[in-house]
């Protein structure tokens, strides 16, 4: 599905070059459920952002669905991730001014999907996540677990091929966390490719593969 080859990312501070990612190779097959682990500052989120094309890298090659991402222009990149990638964040990042329904609907708006079709798709997802009753509430009226559920629903609404999750359970209590991870497992079983960043061994255990990062390098 995607392949990273010799990825470097660095920042220059004074005369020193600090490497955020260093010679990272990674290949992901469709249907995998990968957990990226490592201590704070090891580059987990950076790697996830690079995979999600939210961040650029300084050196190396990145092929996503046979497209050479490193050669694409900003616009093509954004249309690529718009179409194939869904994001879930630790802090949910729902838009406070929009209701649950509208939050979930927003990605579809950016993909120019017709209103009637949007309605059907959102209704589907609401149904599936059992949050129909909450659709007119605003994010601040929901619990953390519920907000993350909406966040996942929003990430999945456009039917991406890849789901990226940055510590999806980081702000949740253990029961809510387990529910979310159960949901991820179920999605993976249905064929969704998932890459998550996590601190928790327990969460990592839900995945099929673990990648350990240390100082921007994949620990072998």
């Amino acid at each position: 599905m995607l392949e990273l080859k010799g990825i470097y990312k660095w920042v220059n501070t004074g005369n020193n070059r600090v490497f955020l990612l260093k010679d990272v190779d990674l290949s992901v097959q469709p249907g995998e459920f990968i957990s990226i682990m490592g201590p704070s500052g090891s580059g987990k989120s950076t790697l996830l952002n690079v995979i999600g094309m939210l961040d650029t890298f300084d050196q190396g090659e990145y092929n996503f669905l046979h497209e050479p991402v490193h050669k694409l222009k900003e616009k093509q990149r954004s249309s690529l991730y718009k179409q194939y990638i869904g994001f879930v964040f630790q802090a949910y990042h729902l838009i406070d001014e929009l209701t649950v329904y509208e939050n979930i609907e927003t990605p579809l708006i950016y993909q120019d999907i017709k209103t009637s079709e949007r309605k059907a798709m959102v209704a589907d997802v609401l149904d599936r996540f059992q949050i129909v009753g909450k659709k007119d509430l605003f994010p601040t009226q929901l619990s953390g677990g519920q907000q993350q559920l909406v966040g996942i629903a929003r990430a999945l609404i456009a039917r991406p091929k890849l789901l990226l999750a940055d510590e999806p359970t980081g702000n949740l209590n253990s029961k809510q966390g387990e529910e979310i991870m159960g949901l991820f497992k179920q999605l993976n079983d249905e064929g969704m490719t998932i890459i998550q960043v996590t601190h928790s061994e327990k969460n990592a255990a839900y995945g099929s593969r673990i990648i350990n990062l240390l100082d921007g390098m994949v620990a072998r």
Binding site: S45, N49, G52, L54, D55, K75, S78, S79, Y81, K82, F87, F89, A91, H93, L94, I95, D96, E97, L98, E102, E105, T106, P107, I109, Y110, Q111, R154, A158
Partner: protein
């Protein structure tokens, strides 16, 4: 997408109601001011635009020998002769006015100005008829305006009603009202209430005017010239009349002629010897627009600055939208749309503001009628539409680009180097400060000028003088005796011309220098009564027969024109109107007119009693009202048929004072608004600085920083920009106010350093309080709490 955006916009606006209100109101004021400026400008250039044939109608002007510039008058005989003598003139119309008393039936008479013209007048100009017939070929008819009809006949039908026009015993003319015209628009240079056939014009002595009379000057002469190319040729050909005119008027020699089209005439200001109206002056035409632009800019800057400084509230949303596939273009569009919403609301509110403001503005000044017809005026609607777009871009573009450019990964990482106090926003704040400074300087400057004009020494007795216009020279002695019998009267004098009530302009020549000067014919007690001060020489003496014919008094101002010091001027000869006069006295300068005009040179000549037209009366200030009413009673007794035309001399002060006060008021309002806008902008930026430095402030406090240090820390970024902007604003305010003062007032207070200092203090105090509130909060905050929060 639009619907989703709109929802967000509305919810955001609602959520931050106070902020929205502030921006909407600020911008509404800015836009209302722009509409005011635009409409005032258009009003000024709308004069006479309602005449269909305006491009083919020309007005004749005359160059006067020895005088500067062209004059508004035109010799009567030339008008009709030119039509016969030269080709290319389809119609020639004479237009003249005089003061008359008008009476209907047994009602009170009114002193009025009647206009006399040729029947073709109504072919050249578009003054629509409301009732009756518009033909004045019949010498027994008069046309009146709706307003006049109401004044004389109330709700009765005016058609067929007789009106008597009279002046003393020399003139009495019964005319029948056969037509009622729509009121003449304010933006017309041609203004009249009564209009009748030219043949009905009689001179002051009651004599008719011969068609070939070269002495009489028209208020205006109009020619219909179908081919505009002919106009210049015709003006040259008119030169043929110079010699015959000069022979007839040795005192007013024509030196050439000029033809200007009606639009050119409408665009002119400050034409001398002009008895038609004029468009509003340049200061009033462009001033409002400049002022409006300043306020408008300040409102836009305020929106920009507060939007940017509040951007952190929007960052997460922007980042998330990008993650969900929004392009930066879409985000910019969304932000602009948000700004557009505010602007549209502001535009709606601005119409309400102008609903109040435009009439209030019109009330302040004579001859101004600025309106805004938002429903039918296409140009105005177009202006508003353009204003919406430009305002949206001006106010919204910077925040839109600024907020939408961040990379979502940096936003979520929380490492956005957040601006708000970057150079650009500081420059914007600086601009606001400069603008506020300009308005404050102008406000204080004009207020001081009002004070100055109130206390201005006109150089004569302006406060305790009453004047009465007595057109009827025959009954003058009787009236004068009645007044002399009033015990409270301390002095009185008859005169032909009177300070502030019109003087002749003549060309005076001495020492080989020719120049225009004002010419007053006065009574023998006039100098004493008006308290004009003799600097050198003597006043008029009726015992000396020569004083009537050969003696003049001149002002120091005129003497200076010829390079004479007071004493040197005595017995000097001055050549006026083909006569030599010798100077018997030098008067200290006095102000002949309102303060709109500069101090001008004056020549005074003694006139015999049979030429007197004014009686000026003096009393103690406390008796003035009593004397006024007694004078009126005396008038009723002597002239039972004539309306009383008395006035307080200090009415002369009123208009200029009123204008200054009004301008001061306008500037004061705008100063308040721009200060409020600036204060909000400043508050937003200071708040942001405090927010950004919360941790630093807390740490510094922990290590022992004093409140003063914190104050310096927070304000460091603003102090210099504020100082620089104030200096620029001071200079701008000084220049603008000086320019306006000089444009409007021939005599004004100028701008003093103390005005600038006061303005700076006002602004600094307000800025100090604004940032002080926030700084105080920061100083008072518990450092431990803030550090924990980090």
């Amino acid at each position: 997408m639009f619907k989703s955006f709109s929802k967000i916009v509305l919810r955001n606006m609602w959520r931050y109601k106070g902020y929205t209100l502030l921006n909407v109101v600020g911008m509404a004021i800015g836009i209302a001011a722009m509409v005011w400026g635009y409409q005032t400008y258009r009003y000024s250039f709308s004069f006479d635009n309602f005449h269909k044939d305006r491009d083919n109608v020309y007005r004749g002007l005359t160059y006067k020998e020895g005088a500067d510039g062209v004059k508004g008058v035109f010799p009567m005989a030339a008008v009709k002769q030119a039509q016969n003598d030269f080709s290319g003139i389809e119609e020639a119309v004479r237009y003249l006015s005089r003061g008359l008393n008008v009476k209907y039936d047994k009602n009170e008479p009114f002193a009025e100005r009647a206009h006399f013209t040729d029947p073709a007048f109504f072919e050249l100009f578009n003054f629509p008829l409301v009732a009756g017939s518009g033909n004045i070929a019949d010498k027994n008819v008069v046309l009146i305006t709706e307003r006049t009809a109401k004044k004389y006949f109330g709700n009765e039908d005016p058609l067929g009603k007789p009106l008597i026009f009279y002046s003393g015993d020399s003139y009495a003319l019964p005319l029948t009202v056969t037509g009622v015209l729509k009121d003449v628009p304010v933006n017309s240079t041609i203004q009249f209430d009564f209009i009748t056939n030219f043949e009905n014009f009689l001179r002051g002595n009651g004599s008719r005017v011969a068609p070939d009379d070269w002495t009489l000057m028209m208020d205006a002469a109009f020619f219909k010239i179908p081919n505009p190319a002919d106009a210049q040729r015709l003006a040259k050909e008119f030169d043929k009349y110079i010699s015959v005119q000069q022979k007839a008027r040795e005192d007013w020699k024509a030196a050439g002629f000029k033809l200007i089209s009606l639009p050119e005439n409408a665009a002119m200001t400050n034409l001398s010897n002009n008895n038609l109206g004029e468009r509003i002056e340049d200061s009033a035409t462009y001033g409002p627009f400049v002022l409006a632009l300043l306020i408008f800019l300040s409102a836009c800057l305020n929106f920009s600055n507060t939007s940017v400084s509040r951007a952190n509230r929007r960052l997460k949303e922007m980042g998330m939208r990008k993650v969900m596939g929004s392009s930066q273009r879409q985000l910019i569009l969304q932000m602009l749309l948000e700004c557009g919403f505010v602007v549209v609301l502001a535009v709606l509110l601005s119409t309400l503001l102008n609903y109040w403001w435009l009439p209030a503005f019109n009330q302040m000044f004579n001859g101004v009628k600025v309106t805004a017809d938002y429903f039918n005026d296409m140009s105005l609607l177009l202006f508003m539409a353009v204003a919406v777009v430009i305002t949206t871009l001006l106010a919204g573009a910077y925040p839109a680009f600024y907020i939408s450019r961040f990379n979502p990964s940096t936003i979520f990482r929380g490492t956005v180097k957040f601006g708000g106090t970057n150079l650009f926003s500081r420059i914007m704040l600086g601009l606001q400060v400069s603008i506020a400074m300009i308005t404050v300087v102008a406000g204080i400057g004009f207020a001081r000028n009002a004070e100055f004009q109130k206390n201005y020494d006109y150089g004569y007795n302006i406060e305790n003088t009453i004047g009465v216009i007595v057109f009827d020279t025959t009954s003058f002695p009787a009236f004068k005796n009645e007044i002399a019998a009033i015990p409270q009267v301390t002095a009185l004098a008859g005169t032909r011309n009177h300070i502030g009530y019109g003087s002749r302009s003549v060309v005076a020549e001495a020492e080989g220098k020719k120049g225009e000067t004002n010419y007053l014919e006065i009574g023998n007690d006039y100098v004493k009564t008006m308290n004009l001060k003799i600097a050198e020489g003597r006043g008029f003496d009726t015992q000396m027969e020569g004083d009537y014919d050969h003696s003049i008094l001149i002002t120091q101002n005129l003497a200076a024109n010829y390079g004479w010091k007071d004493k040197e001027a005595l017995d000097k000869k001055i050549f006026i109107d083909s006569m030599h006069y010798s100077v018997i006295g030098i008067l200290k300068d006095f102000h002949l007119d309102q303060l709109f005009d500069p101090l001008e040179p004056v020549v005074l000549k003694l006139a015999k009693e049979n030429r007197y037209q004014f009686l000026v009366i003096q009393s103690k200030l406390s008796d003035l009202e009593t004397v006024y009413s007694k004078t009126r009673d005396a008038w009723k007794k002597v002239f039972p048929m004539k309306p009383f035309a008395g006035f307080y001399q200090n009415e002369i002060k009123a208009e200029a004072y009123q204008v200054t006060k009004s301008i001061a008021k306008i500037f004061t309002w705008f100063a308040i608004i721009s200060i409020l806008l600036t204060a909000t902008g400043l508050f937003a930026l200071v708040s942001l600085t405090v927010l950004k430095k919360t941790k630093e402030i807390a740490l510094r406090k922990v290590v022992g920083a004093k409140p003063r240090d914190i104050l310096v820390l927070i304000n460091r970024g603003y102090f210099w920009i504020f100082l620089l902007a104030s200096a620029i604003g001071c200079y701008g305010g000084y220049s603008l106010t000086r320019l306006l003062l000089d444009m409007i007032f021939g005599v004004n207070a100028g701008i003093e350093v103390s005005t600038l200092i006061r303005s700076a203090i006002v602004l600094f105090v307000i800025a100090g309080i604004t940032s002080g509130i926030k700084v105080w909060q920061a100083i008072r905050a518990n450092p431990a709490k803030n550090l924990r929060a980090e």
